[in-house]
Symmetry: C2
């Protein structure tokens, strides 16, 4: 893989490429042109060629892309084949919804454990995932070295919980708390899920378009 | 407001502008330069000026932007002051999590009702929001004309539920089902929430950066 700088916008499009290619793969498509893929995704063929050129040479003039090959390459670039380990911290409605409905496996993640403070939950399971006491993080994380923590705790304890996870060496935090988290200088990757941004985009469209 | 074509990328950045300006507003900031705002948001000052030029003239050479004014203008562009009405269809874990935790009000939406098929839920309330039988959609929607339906039903009934809402004239669907919905030719705006795209972006970052 080339080592050039990859812009944020390109990184954000990679999962979409993967999603569309995976869909084509499931439908049995063998090849697709950059034009046809662009039409599906609502972007131009030249945008696709430019995006992919950040990572190497893909596709063939006059043939297009081999769907499986490109899907696997992009999956590899995204780290889907790394079998990252993930934990959920906060088993309220949202944490529970993610454990029940989100396909961690399809994204290449192995969901190892969930954590909460509620005595009614601790010691139990959600969809086969053990729920441990948050106090166990200091034992569990060094022993299992999860790559990502899903942060679904209440806002008031968001930063302090993040601080604990960061001190324990977690490389990535998938942040659903709507709190802008600080890493206090440590190299941690945050991915914030902002539901409001999504709804406001829809608000714009029904208001102005 | 000017009526020129506004690109998808600009539309997607508007809620982020609003979020950052709202934060500055809450912190008591009175004005900000495009350079300082860009630095906060990780984009260039010229990008900001270009984005905002789609909607008119904002800010003043040598002064920058008045935080409150720009926040209110962007809020208006996004339709936050329209007091849109919204309903939640599907009161499982995810629907319940949104009703409990998402600040519909801050996004300018009035949450009027929720719908489910489960007899244990129908007739009750979640956070003061009445839960009605899904069978009541055909009575409720024409009477209350909600602008947006949050779709948090199981995948197997996603398209058929969307079809009913579309037939009833709902202008926007905030789609959490991970099913690519079709509007069958009607002019409906879909906003899909793809959790996997977000997690895969994080996966890329912890793998490659």
């Amino acid at each position: 893989m080339k080592k050039q700088h990859v812009s944020n916008a390109v990184i954000r499009r990679l999962p979409r490429y993967y999603r569309y290619l995976d869909d084509l793969h499931l439908k049995g498509s063998v090849r697709i042109s950059s034009g046809a893929l662009g039409e599906k995704m609502g972007i131009t063929a030249s945008q696709i060629r430019q995006d992919l050129s950040c990572f190497g040479e893909f596709g063939q003039q006059g043939y297009g892309y081999n769907v499986d090959e490109l899907r696997n390459e992009i999956g590899h670039i995204l780290g889907i084949d790394e079998r990252h380990r993930i934990i959920v911290v906060g088993v309220g409605n949202l944490g529970r919804a993610l454990i029940h409905n989100f396909h961690f496996n399809d994204a290449g993640f192995l969901l190892e454990a969930a954590f909460d403070v509620a005595p009614a939950l601790v010691g139990g399971e959600v969809e086969g995932v053990p729920v441990l006491d948050v106090a166990e993080l200091e034992r569990f994380v060094p022993a299992h070295q999860p790559h990502v923590a899903v942060l679904t705790v209440p806002q008031q304890v968001a930063q302090q919980t993040a601080d604990r996870l960061i001190a324990l060496g977690i490389p990535g935090i998938w942040n659903f708390t709507n709190v802008e988290l600080s890493s206090r200088g440590k190299d941690v990757k945050f991915e914030d899920v902002h539901f409001a941004d999504s709804l406001l985009t829809l608000s714009y469209r029904i208001t102005r378009q």
